[in-house]
């Protein structure tokens, strides 16, 4: 009989960075070009098998952070880890992800996380440089480029985070 665990993971980041698209790519393996902003939170579930265990990942896709809507920390309660998402074509969203990280750590303490710098399929438009990512890695960050459109880096990022929240 396999052991089953259930872990809550929150998707955090600025608006329009691709959090919902990443979850949709990961859970349903689809991508939509239509941008539909998230209000509040949307919950999805993905079940993965890790060795002899079954892990239910409860994915909380939180509304994007912006000047008008700041993060509701109440949504993060009970989270086992989180995925920070930035848009590589918008340098400011990386700064916002870094800021969110600090606030979450202050509120929830240290939790496993991964920073996804999304939209790598538009790498020619990126304003985030490889040097920026290297500097973050040197600072101990788990950083991955990703693309919800092509699926690049998505599965690996969630699998890696799942392994860390359910060791």
């Amino acid at each position: 009989m396999t052991a089953t665990v259930q872990k809550k993971i929150c998707m955090l980041g600025g608006f329009s960075v691709g959090k919902t698209s990443l979850v949709k790519r990961y859970v349903q393996s689809i991508f939509s070009e239509t941008y539909l902003t998230t209000v509040g939170v949307k919950i999805d579930k993905k079940t993965v098998t890790m060795g002899d265990r079954t892990v239910h990942l409860i994915l909380w896709d939180l509304a994007g952070e912006d000047d008008m809507a700041s993060l509701r920390m109440s949504y993060l309660r009970g989270s086992a880890g989180y995925m920070l998402v930035a848009d590589g074509t918008r340098r400011a969203t990386l700064d916002m992800a870094l800021s969110l990280h600090q606030r979450v750590e202050a509120e929830c303490g240290p939790l496993p996380y991964t920073l996804l710098v999304n939209k790598h399929d538009l790498s020619e438009q990126w304003t985030v440089s490889n040097g920026d990512l290297e500097e973050l890695r040197r600072g101990g960050w788990s950083v991955r480029p990703s693309s919800a459109r092509t699926g690049e880096g998505v599965e690996d990022a969630f699998t890696d985070l799942a392994a860390r929240v359910a060791p």
Partner: protein, 399 residues
Amino acid sequence: MDRLQALTLAGRAVAFLYVDDALVLIDAGGQLEAYGLAALRLGAPAVEQAVFLEGFLPLIETPYLLPSVEIARGRAADLHFWRDEGGVWVVLLEVTSERDAARRMQQKAYDMTLLQEREAMLNRRLEAANAALLAAQRELEASRDALLRAHTALEAQSAELARWNKTLEERVAAQVSEIERINRLKRFLAPSLAELIVSTGDESILQSHRRDIAALFCDVRGFTAFAENAEPEEVVELLRDYHAALVPLIQSFEGTLDRFVGDGMMVIFNDPLPCLNPAERAVRLAVAMRDAVAALAVLWRKRGHQIGFGIGIAQGFATMGQIGFEGRFDYSAIGTVVNTAARLSDVASDRQILVTSRVATAVGDFVELTEIGMLAIKGLSRPLAVSNVVALKSELLPQ
């Protein structure tokens, strides 16, 4: 329950869960199917069946609100948590229409923000492109300026080169002209004197003028007979040796070689360059010439040729200057003194240096003379007193 019923009547899906302290679902109701919760099993763990409860139970603070949570099927609900003695109540109150209204507003705001960000990014790129264009334009202008400067410098260099070429051509022409003049003058002047005339650029001395000169004529005695009997090659050889011996002497005494005529030569002193004692120079040259020819005569006699050498010297005024026409000029002397010297040479025997009385007087102090007497000279109305130069008085020679 009346409140829930009223909300249901208002078109909102309302449902509730009741979870005990062991996190077991002990009650549920309302429109559970609207949230995908129709299959809930009472008595079973609550969190496994309602995954949105993950992390919230046991409840830490009460009441607790999670606004606008989309659990399933696009429906959004506010989740209200509170506890009582028996456990935790979770009420799902649908807010889909409010969520959609908020989404529409937020969508517009985000679209506008994204548009502004995109516009700002495009503006930045445009500015960067403009800056690059300006830089390229400045670079182009700098290149054009540099090119213009290089072109101007090149033109200046070309002009300078043209000037140099012109100067060079003028110098070459001048040098060619000098060489031609030198060659022309060398025909009747000592080379050093010819070059001196050219270097000073003064050719006025070549113009016709009268001058007191010493004229020396010399020729070989017995040359005509020798030329008749000898092979032409021998004649040419003799003349070559003869000229090779005498011409350097003429130049060393700074005489002006007026002309060659076969074995005869005419040498002038005091013209075109003046000298202090032309008669003395003429006599000293004559003695040197006689000695030189005497040495040659020894060789010629060994070959069976009887060759002698005679000289005549006179002093007096003559008309000097260039004689001839364009392309064929000679510098020469015309006057009685020339004829006299020529006639004396004609009558001189082998080794004789016949001089007029004026020449004899001029050189008497350092030359041993013998008076020949009065000779009638062809072309002269009166006989001339003629002397022969025997030798130099070496002990009286000026140092």
